[in-house]
Symmetry: C2
Subunit: 217 residues, 2 copies
């Protein structure tokens, strides 16, 4: 995607995530041109791209509508991530270079640094490092297709919401998982790497479930 299209994509996406465009909303191209200050051509490009990432659904000759998510969808996304990220970790055992391992370690150290600081934890900073760790691992798995698939999966609105629920304790545990994955890679133990990564995603699902789905009344 190019300049104007990217701009439109990012503006529309953030409006969807913020709730300005709730599920089922009909996104009209003409209105979006004034919102994004670009012409309809890049707007349409952005909408197609958002559809590829499952943010919206395009019905030919009818229009573009914001997709709505059920709790089944949340379950699905976590399960698919468990499978695919587990596979990525397994492949990384075979494909990762010493440089890859070093880079992964750096991200772990950065998160530890955040944890060691006093006061409320900087969740945004953690998320940035966390994202870097995971993407690096996908890349280290050596499969561009796997990376592309996972990129789309974790871009999902449900995943974007998950993060708000993390406590200091959760983050500490997540980083321990990261370190264990690195160890498994160093030990060339693909089953271990895969298993830890699966646990890692399942733990995230648990945090999400507690925070958003249960109603402790």
């Amino acid at each position: 995607m190019s300049k104007a299209g990217k701009k439109a994509y990012s503006i529309i996406r953030s409006r969807i995530l913020s709730g300005d465009f709730p599920p089922k909303t009909h996104l009209k191209e003409e209105e979006l041109t004034t919102l994004c200050d670009v012409s309809r051509t890049p707007i349409r490009e952005a909408l197609r791209s958002l559809a590829a990432d499952y943010y919206v659904e395009i019905i030919p000759n009818r229009g573009t509508f914001v997709t709505d998510w059920s709790s089944d969808d949340v379950e699905d996304i976590f399960n698919m991530r468990m499978l695919l990220e587990g596979y990525a970790a397994q492949q990384a055992v075979v494909k990762a270079t010493p440089e890859d391992i070093e880079e992964l370690t750096t991200y772990c150290n950065n998160i530890d640094l955040l944890l060691s600081q006093d006061g409320p934890i900087d969740v945004e900073a953690f998320l940035a490092e966390n994202r870097l760790f995971h993407r690096k691992l996908w890349q280290a798995s050596g499969s561009k297709r796997l990376s592309a698939l996972l990129l789309r999966l974790v871009a999902q609105p449900v995943v974007a919401r998950t993060v708000m629920a993390y406590t200091r304790q959760d983050i500490r545990r997540k980083n321990e998982h990261h370190r264990e994955i690195i160890e498994a890679i160093k030990a060339k133990d693909s089953a271990w790497a895969r298993s830890i990564m699966s646990s890692h995603i399942l733990a995230a699902r648990h945090v999400y479930t507690l925070a958003f789905l249960d109603d402790p009344s």
Copy 2:
């Protein structure tokens, strides 16, 4: 995608699959307009869509290029299919309705009918029924996202090529797998369903490997 865009998508895709547009080819929008007899707007739409399906890669301000596949990619696609289709089969155990099961059975019967006929087997007809079986199973799993993901995975050029290598024996075995999956669903045994589906995909990988990657000189 709409009328003109779909037309362009299908024409360009078939040219890629046929080898008319080999890997790394620079697909120029202007040239494609004469080939597809539509304007550049739907051509661009088709190219974006082809990029979403990994047929081509778009580099901003540079152009669109046909992606090239390595044998690692083939391995990857089969492995991811094994994971995701296995998951689909597992979910189908929980979600499938009696009508779904009936429909799946019909496709199995159709394939048996093909096998019972004399003379060389109609591979194209088998493929059609096979595709229907798999897609029905994805749909029965109840996850639209999983369906969308798998649809893109099996659309890959490498997968499209696989099919040419099937013998009568291979097809018979594949249909036996199909029937066993149905049985597992009826028995509400998700582990069995998943396991058979994984075997099913691994067997396909084996056939592919024998036919295209080994060189029995």
